[in-house]
């Protein structure tokens, strides 16, 4: 009898946790929130805006609540791939332009024509930006915001250094950098990104275009080891030798230092203004501290270069409610939230109604970014699925040239060989 009592106790102890787990599992089916993943909602400058977007959705849709899941920008693509491969819940994700091409071969992105409806998409989103989310004929992503990565300068710092005109050519640009260095040797005249693979490769691509070179040609061939690109690298090395650019500079450091009046020029996307304000630039005087500009050109009259930049939204097959996920995307890019997002962060909306809203059309900063975007080109490495690997190669090789490990010619030859190997 005593053993029977023990056996009963063991059975009861085993059954209780199982029952609790089962009950929890059933409860999860009802209340488990949709997962909206990305990086902007975890960044200090935009986190409150994302909280507000999600909060408005949750108030209006209590049966299909959404929760945010975020990582640093540099980790997001990897985490999305790992999470989706692991079968964990993932409904809507924020993607950088180009990431959909990487994720598409996994077959884990849903066709948004089926989820949201082709008619709604065509009616509300300009065809060109909608096209950027079409991969192999399927609409796997829709635009969330779209602009370009250009350059910004600090007008008050330039004025203090005696630079009266915004530089338009490389000679003028170098003169401005020298003036900034003379004015205050502690500042970084041009915070070229030299760390952080994704940013370095994108910015370098725009400078290669400026010098007339490319990384990849239209046929997909690696053409990075060209005389034009060698001239660009030699120019970077000379800037480094004169302390006009700095090593170990990533985009995040550049933003912080720029807001602290420690940087004259740097490359960024349209969200630069919002970040600067959040980092301490007075909101009502931002024009004096941050202003977009065209990238300087080799010769007067050349086209100023910029790389297209944007965020997209996609739905993963790991969703448990594709219909609600589609509605959530409509909520995020619709007029109300689109305009709210623009007002808070400066990121341009993507739907017709939001683009034509007076708050958007009357904004001077946004207007200048539109001018820059007019010259926008697709970054050449984004077409490859192993874009992270390719960007790392370019970054490592640039660093090797800047620290003097390799000559510009050798660096470009090595980069070409490694890129070809990685693409094959």
């Amino acid at each position: 009898m005593r053993y029977l009592g023990h056996i009963t106790l063991i059975v009861v102890l085993a059954v209780i946790p199982a029952s609790v787990a089962l009950a929890a599992g059933q409860a999860e089916e009802v209340t488990d929130p949709m997962v909206f993943a990305g990086w902007s909602g975890s960044e200090e400058a935009s986190a409150p805006v994302f909280e507000e977007k999600i909060s408005r959705w949750n108030e209006a849709n209590p049966d299909t609540p959404v929760e945010w899941l975020g990582w640093p920008w540099g980790d997001t693509l990897d985490q999305l791939l790992i999470r989706s491969a692991g079968g964990e819940r993932l409904d809507v994700a924020q993607l950088q332009l180009g990431w959909a091409e990487v994720i598409a071969p996994t077959g884990r992105l849903l066709d948004l024509d089926e989820v949201i409806g082709r008619e709604w998409l065509e009616e509300n989103i300009p065809a060109a930006s909608l096209e950027a989310g079409v991969i192999d004929g399927t609409q796997l992503a829709v635009p969330y915001t779209s602009a370009s990565i250009g350059m910004v300068h600090n007008p008050s710092l330039l004025a203090a250094a005696g630079v009266e005109e915004i530089p338009e050519t490389l000679d003028e640009f170098e003169a401005a950098l020298e003036a900034l260095a003379d004015y205050d040797p502690d500042i970084v005249p041009y915070a070229l990104t030299t760390a952080g693979a994704g940013s370095v490769a994108q910015d370098l691509n725009a400078w290669f275009w400026t010098f007339g070179g490319r990384m990849i040609d239209d046929d997909g061939n690696v053409v990075i080891d060209s005389p034009e690109n060698e001239a660009a690298i030699e120019w970077f090395v000379s800037l480094h030798d004169r302390d006009l650019i700095a090593l170990d500079m990533d985009r995040f450091d550049a933003r912080v230092l720029f807001a602290e009046q420690q940087v004259g020029f740097y490359d960024d996307a349209i969200l630069a203004r919002g970040i600067a304000i959040d980092s301490g630039v007075p909101e009502d005087e931002w024009e004096g501290y941050i202003m977009p500009m065209m990238r300087p050109t080799v010769n007067p009259g050349d086209d100023p270069q910029s790389g297209l930049w944007g965020h997209q939204l996609a739905i993963f097959e790991n969703t448990q409610n594709a219909e609600a996920a589609g509605e959530f995307i409509k909520h995020l890019i619709g007029e109300e939230i689109g305009v709210y997002y623009f007002e808070q962060t400066g990121l341009p909306p993507v739907t017709h109604d939001a683009i034509e809203h007076p708050s958007v059309t009357a904004d001077e900063g946004a207007d200048r970014w539109l001018d820059i975007t007019a010259y926008g080109r697709n970054h050449e490495l984004l077409q490859f699925e192993n874009v992270s690997e390719l960007q790392s190669i370019v970054t490592e090789e640039l660093q090797a040239a800047l620290i003097g490990d390799k000559s510009p010619a050798r660096m470009l030859a090595d980069a070409a060989a490694r890129l070809e190997d990685a693409i094959d």
């Binding site: 990897d78 071969p105 502690d186 693979a197 090593l247 699925e385 790392s392 490592e396 090797a400 490990d405």
Partner: protein
């Protein structure tokens, strides 16, 4: 154990369960064995298998490729550099941690007032997460707002900022110092335990014979601690070989791969290049190197028993 050996308890077990002592022992060890198999053996076996397949995080499916992943890894022109970086990092961090840890253990072993508190305080560096330690050292070495530049400028040693983490030698030195500082308390704790076991009478006798501090250290303390020093160094080397987080946060393996070790290389192949097969191949090579030190450690322990 003694109760089993005398037959009384073991006999009762056998009567109740119908199991012999050996079988009963296996049953008792089974949960731990299953746990070990689940979290250590399975991932390791999986890595071994993955290393001979073309497995990607992007593309579904796997193709058997034999030793192709190993050939690609070993023929990669960057591989010797990765091995060299790993050796420099491991020997550097071990030397820094051991020197600091041993010195600090000798100081704390003097038994002055407050030494117990200091011992506890020292352990804080060991329990702080690696990422937090990495940020702390990044703040020290940062080129624009780093503490080191500020101090050097204040005392007049330089008039300009240096981007320490952007230069090859200093980036390596910075990650070694950061990891060395993190691991120092662990070394201190083990070596302090060894110091406590030294026969104090021997030291007293040597001092009466006129031996100074250095002589006592060389002739009595170090020989008396040979066993614990050996084991500590071996385990320390194994831990440094496995280390990832401080390097990744501080330099991401740069500049120009100067701080790319095996751990960083595995991460890159797996989660930046999405090439799980190649990452597993690097992991297997890395494990083989680790195994040498593990075997040495086991042998040292066996000799010490």
């Amino acid at each position: 154990m003694s109760r089993s050996r005398n037959g009384r308890t073991g006999g009762r077990q056998a009567v109740r369960t119908g199991l012999s002592d050996a079988q009963f022992g296996v049953v008792l060890a089974l949960p731990a064995a299953l746990f070990f198999a689940g979290i250590v053996l399975y991932p390791f076996a999986n890595s071994l298998i993955m290393s001979v397949f073309d497995r990607s995080l992007i593309y579904p499916g796997t193709d058997f490729t034999g030793l192709r992943n190993f050939r690609r890894v070993l023929s990669d022109p960057n591989f010797p550099g990765v091995a060299r970086n790993t050796a420099v990092f491991v020997s550097g961090t071990t030397a820094v941690s051991f020197s600091l840890g041993f010195t600090w253990a000798l100081i704390l072993n003097q038994g002055y007032r407050g030494s117990a508190f200091l011992r506890g305080l020292t352990l804080c560096a060991w329990i702080i997460p690696g990422a937090a330690i990495a940020f702390l050292w990044m703040w020290i070495f940062h080129g624009q707002y780093g503490v080191l530049n500020l101090v050097l400028r204040r005392i007049g040693l330089t008039s300009r900022n240096y981007t320490w983490l952007g230069t090859r030698q200093f980036a390596v030195l910075a990650v070694i110092l950061a990891r060395g500082w993190q691991a120092m308390p662990w070394y201190m704790l083990l070596l302090l335990g060894g110091l406590k076991a030294i026969n104090f009478d021997q030291i007293e006798a040597a001092r009466i014979d006129g031996a100074g501090n250095i002589r006592v250290l060389r002739s009595i303390v170090v020989p008396g601690m040979r066993q614990i020093i050996g084991v500590t160094l071996l385990i320390g080397i194994i831990m440094s070989l496995q280390h990832f987080d401080i390097i990744w946060v501080m330099t991401q393996g740069g500049p120009a791969r100067a701080t790319t070790t095996f751990s960083v290389e595995v991460y890159r192949h797996a989660f930046q290049n999405y090439d799980l097969g190649r990452a597993a191949a690097v992991g297997v090579i890395w494990s083989a190197i680790l195994a040498v030190f593990v075997l040495l450690n086991l042998r040292a322990r066996r000799n010490g028993e």
